[in-house]
C-alpha cells in the first residue's frame, strides 16, 4: 500500500522533469493494481554487470515486453554498453563480455533511454528484481539526476512463495526454478536470454496460481 503511494508520488515529481523520455514515462498509462496479471503489460529485464557490488557497471542489457499470455520477441532488445570503467576481472570471465566488446557497446545514455521508453506503463520482471531495479535507478540518477520510480515483480520472491520449503538457495536459482516447471535449460549469462528465461518462468508460475491473481498481489511480494 505504501509502495503504491510512493510510486504515485515519485511519478508526479518525475512529470516535472525536462528530459522527454522521463516526462513520457510519467505520463504513461499505468495498469491498476487490481488488473489480473495475465493481462498486465510487463517487461522482462536482465542486466549483465561487471561485478556484484553496488555501483557495478552495466555491460549488457536485454529486455522484452510481454504479457503472461505470450512473449513476442519482435520488440526484444539486447545491447552491449560502452564503458570505460575498469572491469571486474571475475565478472567479465563469467559473462564472457571483455573490455574490448564493452567499449564498443552502445552509449549508456542511449540504451537507458530506450529501456525507459519501453518500460513506460509496464511492470518490470526479473529473477532477483532488486538488482535490476537498483541498477536502473542508479543509471537514471547518474544520467538525469532524477529518481525513477519502478514497479516490479520478482520471480525469485514469487518462487519462494510458491515453493517455500526447498533446501538451500541453489533451489531458487533461475535454472533450478525453471526446471520445476518443465522449462528448458538455457545458456546462462546472456542478458536477453536471462530476461526471456525470467519471463517464461513467470508465465509458468502463474499457471500454478488462481487465474484472477492480481498485479498488485505479485508486486507486493517484493
Amino acid at each position: 500500500m505504501f509502495a503504491r503511494l510512493r510510486f504515485a508520488h515519485d511519478l508526479r515529481r518525475l512529470g516535472k522533469a525536462e528530459e522527454p523520455v522521463l516526462a513520457r514515462y510519467a505520463a504513461a498509462e499505468w495498469p491498476e493494481a487490481g488488473t489480473p496479471v495475465r493481462d498486465a503489460p510487463l517487461l522482462a529485464l536482465d542486466f549483465e554487470l561487471d561485478g556484484l557490488k553496488r555501483g557495478a557497471h552495466l555491460l549488457q542489457a536485454g529486455w522484452t515486453r510481454f504479457t503472461p499470455r505470450a512473449i513476442p520477441l519482435e520488440h526484444a532488445q539486447v545491447h552491449d554498453i560502452r564503458s570505460n570503467a575498469a572491469l571486474d576481472r571475475q565478472a567479465v570471465t563469467i559473462h564472457g563480455i571483455g573490455g574490448q566488446r564493452a567499449s564498443e557497446g552502445a552509449r549508456l545514455r542511449e540504451v537507458i533511454a530506450a529501456l525507459i521508453a519501453d518500460l513506460a506503463g509496464r511492470v518490470l520482471v526479473a529473477h532477483g528484481a532488486s538488482i535490476e531495479v537498483e541498477a536502473l535507478q542508479g543509471a537514471a540518477k547518474a544520467l538525469y539526476g532524477a529518481r525513477l520510480p519502478i514497479r516490479s515483480i520478482c520471480t525469485l520472491m514469487l518462487e519462494r512463495h510458491l515453493a517455500p520449503n526447498l533446501a538451500g538457495d541453489g533451489a531458487y536459482r533461475l535454472g533450478a526454478a525453471r526446471a520445476r516447471y518443465g522449462l528448458p535449460a538455457y545458456d546462462a549469462h546472456d542478458a536477453l536470454g536471462d530476461a526471456i528465461a525470467a519471463a517464461e518462468l513467470l508465465m509458468a508460475q502463474l499457471t500454478r496460481m488462481p487465474r484472477d491473481t492480481t498485479l498488485g498481489r505479485l508486486e507486493a511480494l517484493g
Binding site: R69, A70, I71, P72, L73, E74, A76, Q77, V78, H79, D80, A106, Y181, G182, L183, P184, Y186, D187, D190, L192, G193, I196, A199, E200, M203, A204, T207, R208
Partner: protein, 620 residues
C-alpha cells in the same frame, strides 16, 4: 546493436525443417518468435478454432487428437504443428493438448507462408499432404543412391591382373588364342605409340566369322579403332553414360601417366550393381548336395547386406532376396526328390506369404506346402510325408527356419491334394469367422516354386473366383486388417512395445508394412485380381478402377519408405553379426526419418479407413 537471439536460433537450427534454412534466415526468424507456455492438461488448440500460427514444441509434449476419433499423436520437442490450418486458410482439425508442461514457439502464418515461398526444401517439407511429402523424400533418397555411381571411381571395378594386349600386326587367330588363354572377352590393341584399338568377342563374331574373314588376317583390319577412353579417375556414372551414349560395351581406361590401365566392360558395371546376388543364385541352383545347398544359402545374408550398401532400392532388394529364396526352395525339393526317388504322382511345392509376394527379406521362416495331384493313391501318402519332411528340414538348415504356425510341408495339414486344398479355401471364403481369417490370410498369397505349376494355377483361379463373389469374405479380411496398430507418431509409452530389456520399440513390419500388404490383398481379392505382389496388386487395383491412382501411389511410396528403413535396420544388424528383426527404437531415428515415418503412418491409416468404409461393412 547486437541483436542475437542465440538460444532461439540455435534451437530452430536443430529442428526439421528449420535446419534446412541458413543461419542468417534463422537469426531473422528467431526475432519473430512468440513464446507461450501451457501447463500439462491445458488445451493449446481446439478442433474448429481458426488458427493462423505455426507452433513448434520447444520443451514438453503436445498430443494431437484427431477430430472425432480416439487416435492420438504425440509431438515432442522440435515438432511443428498446426500448419495444415494455415495452408487451408482456416479451421483447425485436430485438438492439441499439452501432455506435459510445454513451452511453444509460434510463428505467424504470414511468415510461415513467406518461408515456404522462398525456400524450396522448406516448402517440400510442408507440402499439404503427407503423401506428397513422402514423394519428395523418396526423390531425395534416390538421388542419394545415384550419388554412389557418381563417387565410385571406375578403375576400382577393374580386375587386378593388368590389361591383356596384342599388337595390331598379330593375326586374328593369335589374338583369339590369347583371349582363350587369358580367359578375357576383350583385348586392348597396342603398338609403340600406345592404345590403337580394341578387339572383343563380338568383333570376332561379327567382323570375322560372320563376314568370312580368314583368321590369318591382321587384327588391325577387324579391331574397333581409336576407341573412346576415360581417365582412371572417372566415375562409374561417366562410364555408364559413355557406354549408353555410344552403344558400346568396353571402355579402355588411361592412367594419369598415359599408360593403359585396363578395359572396363559393361558386365563389370553390372557386377558392381549386383553380381553377388547373381553369384549366390548360381551357387544355389548348382548345389549338388544338401551340404552344398546349405553353404550356398548361407551367402544370402551377405548378398542382402551388399545390395543395401550399394544403394539398391527396397523393391529390387526384396525381389533379389525372394529370387534367392525361391531358388533355395526349388533346389531343396530337387535334392529331396533325388534322395527319395521320383514322385508317384505329380505335385507342386507352393510357397505362401512374403516369398510368394516376392517381398522377402533375410531371416524369414518357411511358409510352404505341397499340392498333390488328385490321382494320389492311399499308399503314396508316405512318400509325400517323407518328401515334405526332407524339404522342410533342408530349408531349416538353409536358414528358412521351421514355421511356428506349422505352415510347412513337414506338417500333414499342409500336404493336401488339389481337391482338399480347394475345400479348405472354400471353407475360409464361404464360412469365414474371425479366428479362421486371422490364420488364413497368409494362404491367399501363394506361388508355385517347383513341380506341377498347373495344380497351383487352377487352385488359385478357383479361389479368386469364389473370393470375388463373397462380400462376406472381403468384409472379414477388411476387418482383420484393422487389427494392426499403425502408430500416429512416436508415443513415449502408448503404442510402442517393450523389448525383453525394456527398450521402447515399434515393429516396422507389423505396424507399418503388414497393413499395406493387407490393404492390397483384401482389395485385390474382393475384385478378383490375380496379382500377388503388393505393388503389382495396387497397380492392378488402379487399372480395375477400384482405387484412385494417387492413393495407390501414396501407399506404394509409404511402403518403399518403411521397407527402406527396415532394410537399413536389418543390414546394420546383420553386419554387426546379429539376427535381423523388425523392432526399431525411435531414438535411433533422425528427426527427419521420424517425420517421414509419421507421414507414412498417416497415409497407411487413411487407406485402412477407406478399406473399412468400402469393404468392412458387410458384417452385421
Amino acid at each position: 546493436m547486437g541483436q542475437e537471439f542465440a538460444e532461439i536460433a540455435r534451437f530452430l537450427g536443430s529442428a526439421a525443417p528449420f535446419n534446412l534454412l541458413g543461419e542468417e534466415v534463422l537469426a531473422r526468424i528467431s526475432r519473430q518468435v512468440t513464446i507461450t507456455y501451457f501447463p500439462a492438461g491445458e488445451t493449446v488448440l481446439s478442433a474448429g478454432e481458426i488458427n493462423n500460427r505455426l507452433m513448434i514444441v520447444r520443451s514438453g509434449a503436445v498430443e494431437l487428437r484427431l477430430a472425432g476419433e480416439e487416435l492420438t499423436a504425440r509431438l515432442e520437442p522440435g515438432s511443428a504443428f498446426a500448419y495444415p490450418s494455415i495452408l487451408r486458410g482456416g479451421e483447425v482439425r485436430n485438438t492439441a493438448i499439452a501432455m506435459e508442461d510445454t513451452l511453444l514457439y509460434q510463428l505467424s502464418g504470414a511468415l510461415f507462408l513467406k518461408l515456404r515461398k522462398d525456400h524450396k526444401r522448406f516448402r517440400e517439407y510442408f507440402v499439404e499432404d503427407e503423401a506428397d511429402r513422402i514423394r519428395h523424400a523418396l526423390r531425395r533418397r534416390e538421388s542419394g543412391a545415384q550419388g554412389m555411381f557418381d563417387t565410385t571411381q571406375v578403375d576400382s571395378l577393374l580386375r587386378r591382373s593388368g590389361p591383356v594386349v596384342c599388337s595390331p600386326q598379330q593375326t586374328i587367330r593369335e589374338a583369339a588364342q590369347i583371349m582363350r588363354e587369358r580367359d578375357v572377352s576383350t583385348l586392348a590393341v597396342c603398338d609403340d605409340t600406345g592404345l590403337v584399338g580394341i578387339l572383343s568377342d563380338k568383333d570376332l563374331r561379327n567382323r570375322v566369322v560372320a563376314a568370312g574373314v580368314s583368321g590369318d588376317h591382321a587384327v588391325r583390319e577387324v579391331m574397333t579403332p581409336r576407341p573412346k577412353t576415360l581417365p582412371t579417375d572417372a566415375s562409374v556414372a561417366e562410364a555408364m553414360a559413355l557406354m549408353a551414349a555410344g552403344g558400346f560395351r568396353h571402355v579402355p581406361l588411361i592412367a594419369a601417366d598415359g599408360a593403359l590401365a585396363g578395359v572396363i566392360s559393361s558386365s563389370d558395371i553390372l557386377a558392381f550393381l549386383g553380381s553377388n546376388a547373381i553369384d549366390a543364385g548360381l551357387a544355389i541352383a548348382r548345389a549338388d548336395s544338401p551340404a552344398a545347398l546349405v553353404a550356398a544359402a548361407a551367402r544370402i545374408p551377405e548378398s542382402f547386406v551388399r545390395m543395401e550398401h550399394q544403394g539398391l532400392g527396397p523393391a529390387h532388394i526384396m525381389r533379389f532376396v525372394s529370387a534367392l529364396g525361391e531358388a533355395a526352395h526349388r533346389r531343396a525339393a530337387q535334392l529331396a526328390e533325388a534322395e527319395l526317388g521320383k514322385p508317384p504322382v505329380p505335385y507342386a511345392l507352393v510357397v505362401f506369404g512374403s516369398l510368394a509376394r516376392e517381398e522377402q527379406l533375410v531371416g524369414s521362416d518357411q511358409d510352404n506346402g505341397l499340392v498333390i495331384d488328385d490321382t494320389m493313391a492311399e499308399g503314396d501318402a508316405a512318400y509325400f510325408a517323407q518328401l515334405g519332411g526332407r524339404i522342410s528340414d533342408l530349408l531349416n538348415d538353409c536358414g528358412f527356419v521351421y514355421c511356428n504356425g506349422g505352415i510347412m510341408a513337414k506338417e500333414a495339414a499342409q500336404r493336401l491334394t488339389a481337391g482338399e486344398w480347394q475345400r479348405r479355401y472354400t471353407d475360409w471364403i464361404e464360412r469365414p469367422d474371425e479366428d479362421k481369417i486371422l490364420r488364413a490370410t497368409i494362404f491367399f498369397d501363394m506361388s508355385c516354386v517347383h513341380g506341377e505349376a498347373a495344380l497351383v494355377d487352377s487352385l488359385r483361379e478357383n479361389v479368386l473366383q469364389r473370393a470375388a463373389a463373397s462380400s462376406i469374405f472381403a468384409s472379414y479380411l477388411a476387418r482383420d486388417a484393422q487389427r494392426s496398430k499403425v502408430p500416429l507418431g512416436f508415443f513415449r509409452n502408448l503404442v510402442l512395445e517393450s523389448t525383453a530389456d525394456g527398450e521402447k520399440v515399434f515393429d516396422v513390419k507389423a505396424q507399418a508394412v503388414m497393413p499395406v500388404i493387407d490393404i492390397a490383398r483384401t482389395t485385390a481379392l474382393a475384385h478378383g485380381i490375380s496379382a500377388v505382389g503388393t505393388a503389382d496388386r495396387l497397380d492392378a487395383i488402379v487399372r480395375a478402377g477400384k482405387m484412385a491412382s494417387g492413393d495407390a501411389q501414396s501407399l506404394k511410396d509409404a511402403m518403399v519408405l518403411v521397407n527402406d528403413l527396415r532394410i537399413r535396420h536389418q543390414a546394420q544388424l546383420l553386419a554387426a553379426g546379429k539376427a535381423p528383426e523388425n523392432a526399431i527404437a525411435p531414438a535411433t531415428l533422425s528427426p527427419l526419418e521420424r517425420d517421414h515415418l509419421k507421414d507414412a503412418f498417416a497415409v497407411i491409416r487413411g487407406a485402412l479407413d477407406s478399406l473399412r468404409r468400402n469393404l468392412a461393412g458387410g458384417i452385421a
